[in-house]
Symmetry: C2
Subunit: 255 residues, 2 copies
């Protein structure tokens, strides 16, 4: 009850998939957590401690044989007066696991009204400060959509609420750069690498959401669902895309 993660959002998390009896891309998630911890000035657990904590959570709930969403949370621990951290700092690390079934079918998108603050370092770390995204999801749901699209304070596309955002036009792939205010998603990086490896031209662009209306296809990525196609955005419908399906298939091979 006195943890700084709860009281002032002083912490970070990672969400990973457990499939085929193992964590998916655990080393990449441990690396991102370390990089994020450095940004906010928290000591970081070792990659071994990170993985052991995540695996123990899966075993605790008996999901070893299934497909699970595993969340590892790192907080600044207890203490300190108000906003100021205590010295010494005693971070807390804990993990939870729940059965996970990927969403069925493509996602419909709606534009969130509040922008993401790309000028804050927090826009690039997976911190516990997710209320703006909770509200974006609520707003999308109220508009009958599955997921929210967020722009930054300059009106440029940043990301979706729980995913990175990609779009395709004339067989070229587009996504916002990290500087536009999106998380450096582990699956995002994998898609960029895979696309480049397949000879698909990739561009990191700062564009207004209007470009989505001109896109041939749009898709979302995150560590749980991998690639999820988008069916519609603001009244614009997208047909199934062979390119998106190919990218989804190539990143879904067992790792």
């Amino acid at each position: 009850m006195d943890d700084r993660g709860l009281l002032v959002g002083d912490g970070l998390f990672e969400t990973m998939l457990w499939a085929n009896g193992a964590l998916v891309l655990a080393a990449e998630h441990a690396r991102r957590l370390s990089a994020s911890a450095e940004v906010i000035g928290l000591p970081t657990p070792s990659a071994d401690a990170f993985t052991a904590c995540a695996e123990a959570a899966v075993r605790r709930v008996g999901l070893e044989a299934g497909r699970a969403a595993v969340r590892v949370t790192l907080t600044a621990g207890s203490g300190g007066r108000g906003l100021d951290r205590p010295n010494p700092l005693r971070p807390r690390l804990f993990a939870t696991a729940t059965a996970y079934a990927p969403p069925t079918g493509p996602a419909s998108l709606a534009l969130a009204s509040a922008p993401r603050n790309e000028a804050s370092p927090l826009s690039r770390v997976k911190s516990l400060n997710y209320l703006d995204l909770v509200l974006a999801r609520r707003e999308a749901a109220a508009a009958g959509a599955d997921e929210a699209v967020l722009v930054n304070t300059r009106g440029e596309l940043a990301c979706a609420a729980v995913a990175n955002l990609f779009w395709v036009r004339e067989r070229r792939l587009f996504t916002p750069p990290i500087e536009a205010g999106c998380l450096p998603g582990v699956t995002r990086a994998l898609v960029l690498e895979t696309a480049t490896g397949r000879g698909i031209e990739v561009e990191l662009v700062r564009e207004p959401p209007k470009v989505l209306e001109l896109a041939d296809a749009v898709f979302l990525t995150n560590s749980l669902m991998g690639v999820r196609a988008v069916s519609s955005y603001c009244g614009r419908q997208y047909a199934k895309s062979a390119l998106v399906a190919a990218i989804a298939a190539s990143i879904e091979k067992p790792v």
Copy 2:
């Protein structure tokens, strides 16, 4: 451990002073919590439940006869998948109290590098998403200052990390409007009312931090310390101000 306040910052808080055997301005804090809960779509406790929870915290730690900082936290409770709230929602309300001694002497200020997102409704509610302010305080401390000054994404003054910001020039009082990205502070409102009542002209202005260098005096307000004078900002030193002392004295009368 599964509370949404901890996991995704889905909650709010209020901090109040306990002095002379009673909560200070409890009704105003209960009202602000209600207004904030409406912004983020949480049901709000009654003013009676709010006050009872806060008072119980003071009694639990035996601080009835002293001066205490009382914090009441409201979270969206447990459950939901990822960012989406469960239905029905079962909010949690809890309070903590700690002995409180106001800071001694005036505060030195330093400018925080990351801006506050005035375009987000969260800039105007006291949510659990305080990591940007934790980082601003760290940055100020590293620069040898007591407190951070924050600008918004347009480079206009917004607030301090744990206080509202005021400045005085030629016997006129200035502070940023809520729309510039500051919290509607309970003490801020009291100062505005007091100053107006004393015939001091008050202006809500959107100005760059440079105006602080031209000010005769600068001060901070929050519910715990009331009015705290500022001694310096970015190398500019401020002399003691009779006007600031008078405002401080007039809001410190027992309520």
